[in-house]
């Protein structure tokens, strides 16, 4: 597809075999050369053993998915070799410890790079030697100077002391020399761009987005795949003056965050589906008390405990149906790590302006994916708009006259925080009047009740003007319009290139803002589309149903995946062609996952 440099490395092994280290070293090496990358790690909910498969795609232009093919396979165990060798095509290489691993049958043109680790290192005990040796081989195959690897090893192991560094360098050097003599480097050497890139995961992006948006209170209960946000926050808390708390459960998390937010601090928390279920009651309470804060749900394959380490876009309806009754909130599904970073700042401003909670729907694909990012594209000082927030008594108001829930024209009432003299009030999850007095306990009054429901609802009447409407991306008048939401943004864009290459004019609509929804704008776009196919990573077509509910539009077909693995670009391309050929009887194309991870 990519006319330039586009290359995929895969590393497979068992949990505990230390896949992360060579992965990190390679990633750092690539971004320092200004190369773009995206890495997807397929792993299991098990601490030792099992099968882990890290795919890292590198290119001289933006990389938006882990792609379709493998160019370089590093097998840390026999299992990896057995599962994945058959996925290599001509020009690809497989690297493995030939002392312990036997390659199987191999396609023509695949280069087998066996490493006789004992012979190279003289060491039978160091189980991690093969990882370092493999880096040596790779550096040779990629046409890099050994010095680059040496520097990277220094950086990686420096904290562990000189001895560790030098023993790693020795092993790597031996492997480099060994392969220099025997293995043919890849035809296209690794390019070098001027501007170095940075690298992060989606969870780090969410956390950093929070930090940049002024979050000074973060609390959480660990839950994969959201825990990375907690880890980043915990690590950086001291330096950034952020109060980070691990709580006894997600109910405590949500309520504690609400308590904090009520003091005026920007508060955030993250979890995954099951924890989010436990938070829902509190989300409704924040809306009723009109306390703004941000809840992140990093979706994983459900239902229930499901497949904790696999991805899915399965919680859209849970977010839509979170908590009882009608209430005001934002729901947004960021499209990539970089978008996630910016989204947090955007959605905090909205939550603050409209004094209501916001839900961010990330997923494992984004949150645990590793992305490169141009550091200069990150606005570390985004606008911070706190809305009608009274934090000190300079503004007017006394106990006698201040009404927390004043029925204003825009429905938004000036919001004072505890500690401010002259603005004493009580916020309540029971229905209340403008003063905050419970109408359920003082006197029940249907007219006041109606007034307050309408006051709150009115808040959002102009919210759509602050949210960008969805747009058509790509050629006008395309044969096929792909509609996706959230994390499929990247893979759909890459699929579009494949689809065009197969001679089909395609465009797409990427939906990020779920609530409030730009129904009119969307209807306009859909009305103009010829054949609408909705792509989503779940079984029931949650977005398709939502979209029909908002616009009345039924798509012409669907491309869905719910086996825990994310889409690869060709899955979508295949789906489009199958739909066009009329070969999708039920209207739902479900690609077969080839790489058995």
């Amino acid at each position: 597809m990519n006319q330039g440099f586009d290359f995929s490395i895969a590393i497979g092994g068992a949990a505990g075999q230390g896949i992360a280290t060579p992965g990190n070293i390679l990633a750092r090496t690539f971004v320092r050369r200004g190369l773009h990358l995206y890495a997807y790690n397929a792993y299991q909910s098990i601490i030792r053993g099992g099968h882990i498969f890290l795919t890292m795609r590198v290119s001289d232009r933006e990389v938006l998915s882990h792609g379709d093919q493998l160019d370089l396979l590093l097998c840390l165990n026999q299992d990896t070799m057995t599962r994945h060798l058959r996925h290599l095509g001509p020009g690809a290489c497989a690297i493995y410890n030939s002392d312990t691993i036997t390659p199987g049958e191999v396609a023509d043109g695949v280069q087998l790079c066996g490493m006789p680790i004992f012979e190279m290192t003289g060491d039978r005990k160091n189980k991690l030697a093969q990882n370092t040796a493999a880096l040596g081989v790779m550096v040779h195959l990629l046409g890099l100077d050994f010095e680059i690897l040496e520097a990277a090893l220094e950086l990686q192991f420096g904290r562990k002391g000189e001895a560790v560094v030098s023993s790693n360098v020795r092993v790597a050097r031996a492997a480099y020399d060994y392969s220099h003599e025997r293995f043919t480097p890849l035809p296209v050497p690794l390019p070098h761009n001027e501007e170095p890139l940075a690298v992060w995961t989606g969870n780090e992006a969410l956390a950093m987005g929070g930090a940049a948006a002024g979050v000074k209170f973060y609390c959480a209960y660990p839950m994969s795949p959201s825990t990375g946000v907690l880890h980043w926050m915990a690590k950086n808390a001291r330096e950034l003056g952020i109060m980070v708390r691990q709580v006894e459960d997600e109910i405590g998390v949500a309520n504690m965050a609400i308590g904090a937010a009520h003091t005026g601090v920007r508060a955030m928390c993250a979890t995954s589906g099951g924890g989010f279920a436990l938070m829902t009651e509190a989300i409704g309470s924040a809306a009723m008390m009109e306390i703004p804060l941000v809840f992140i749900n990093v979706m994983r394959a459900g239902p229930s405990t499901g497949v904790p380490t696999k991805t899915e876009q399965g919680d859209l309806w849970q977010a839509l149906g979170a908590s009882q009754g009608d209430f005001e909130r934002f729901i947004v599904a960021p499209e990539s790590a970089e978008d996630a970073f910016h989204t947090i700042g955007e959605v905090f401003n909205l939550a603050d302006r409209y004094q209501c909670p916001a839900i961010v729907l990330s997923d494992l694909l984004i949150s645990e994916g590793t992305f490169s990012v141009p550091p200069q594209s990150l606005d570390m000082y985004p606008p911070i708009e706190r809305g009608k927030l009274i934090r000190d008594a300079e503004r007017n108001g006394t106990n006698g006259t201040y009404n927390r829930y004043l029925d204003t024209e825009d429905g938004i009432s000036p919001r004072a925080v505890p500690g401010t003299p002259g603005f004493v009030h009580v916020v309540a999850t029971d229905e209340h009047d403008e003063e905050g007095i419970l109408i359920s306990d003082e006197f029940t009054d249907p007219h006041k009740r109606r007034q307050m429901v309408e006051k709150r609802a009115r808040k959002l009447s102009d919210a759509l003007t602050r949210i960008p409407p969805p747009e058509i991306e790509g050629v006008e008048d395309a044969e096929v319009t792909l509609v996706g939401w959230g994390s499929t943004w990247g893979v759909i864009r890459e699929a579009m290139e494949q689809i065009e290459a197969r001679g089909v004019a395609v465009n797409r609509i990427a939906v990020k803002w779920i609530l409030p929804f730009h129904a009119d704008a969307m209807s306009g776009l859909l009305a103009a589309a010829k054949k609408i196919l909705i792509v989503e990573n779940n079984h029931s077509g949650q977005f398709a149903r939502f979209l029909r509910g908002e616009t009345g539009f039924s798509a012409h077909g669907h491309i869905r995946k719910y086996d825990g693995e994310p889409f690869m670009p060709h899955h979508i391309a295949d789906g489009v062609l199958a739909h066009l050929a009329g070969e999708v009887p039920g209207g739902v194309f479900v690609p077969e996952q080839e790489i058995r991870v």
Partner: protein, 297 residues
């Protein structure tokens, strides 16, 4: 606070809420409300310096009747919310008010963990041994045998003991009061607010409408103030032993106090000599931002 207002000395009346309590006439909760209002006035606290956080229940309507900042949150969640308030603004005085169902039933887990964290809160539980607001079901502190709408043939589950639980979970100020003794209540509340850590006062606060067993009369004949018994609040064993007594003698007063444990906010290095996080300007400093970016490269 950037603005200094001159504070005139306040009285209990200044801590009246916007509405009068709508509790049943005779409800035990009136006494705690009054005792609390008198105590905060005596301590010289200002309405805006206090946040009164509650869950849901008759007793949890307390913040609406009390003249300070207030949060009337979800059933069972007051302690979690209050912890958030305190950790985001350690300068505030936090009163947490609620019922036995709210605190020991649905809210039980927050009770345990707030205790072990020793969050600097004053937790006032109006324990009427019944679910009042939902019109009289068994509560986790109802006695065995008690007949309620949900146990018409008598409760078979043993009640929790909030005092021994609180002590064992790590609360550092643990007391029991009785609505029939406002004077003692005031002393206990004063001690609780002054105590730097998690202070629990379990208050026998009779539900005159739904609990026919644990009435004022029931308690009047039984309560024995620990003050008169020479009890040493430093002695957890004696505290637990006395807390377990539930017969002709039922002790009230301060069972346990450990002033040596630091409250949670004092253990958080980011608060060392720092303003509350809710008062720190939101934007990152250039140094902070640069460091973050650097680590990604």
């Amino acid at each position: 606070m950037t603005v200094e207002l001159r504070h005139k000395p306040l009285t209990a009346k200044d801590f009246k809420g916007k509405v009068d309590p709508d509790w049943c006439p005779g409800c035990g909760d009136f006494a705690l409300l009054r005792a609390t209002q008198m105590t905060v006035a005596k301590l010289g606290l200002q309405p805006h310096e206090i946040v009164c956080v509650s869950g849901i229940g008759c007793s949890s309507n307390f913040p609406g009747f009390f003249g300070s900042y207030g949060m009337h949150t979800l059933h069972g969640r007051a302690l979690a919310v209050a912890t958030g308030v305190k950790m985001a603004n350690q300068n505030l005085t936090i009163l947490v008010t609620g019922g036995d169902g709210d605190g020991y039933g649905i809210g039980g887990n927050h009770f345990t963990h707030t205790a072990r964290r020793n969050v600097d809160l004053t937790y006032l539980v109006m324990n009427n041994q019944i679910y009042g607001l939902t019109t009289g079901q068994v509560s986790p502190s109802s006695s065995v045998g008690m007949k309620t709408k949900s146990t018409p043939f008598g409760n078979v589950e043993r009640p929790v003991n909030p005092i021994t639980s609180a002590i064992m979970n790590g609360a550092t100020y643990v007391a029991r009061g009785f609505s029939g003794n406002i004077k003692q209540l005031r002393t206990l509340i004063e001690g609780a607010i002054n105590h730097p850590g998690f202070a629990v006062i379990d208050v026998f606060s009779p539900c005159v409408t739904f609990n026919r067993d644990n009435t004022y009369a029931f308690f009047r004949g039984r309560v024995v103030p620990l003050e008169k018994e020479g009890h040493d609040p430093g002695d957890w064993k004696s505290a637990c032993e006395r807390a377990m007594e539930w017969g002709d003698r039922i002790y009230t007063g301060l069972f346990f106090q450990d002033p040596t444990v630091a409250p949670l906010h004092a253990l958080e290095p980011i608060l060392d000599d720092a303003p509350p996080v809710c008062q720190v300007p939101e934007p990152l400093t250039a140094t902070q931002a640069d460091r973050i970016i650097q680590r990604m490269m």
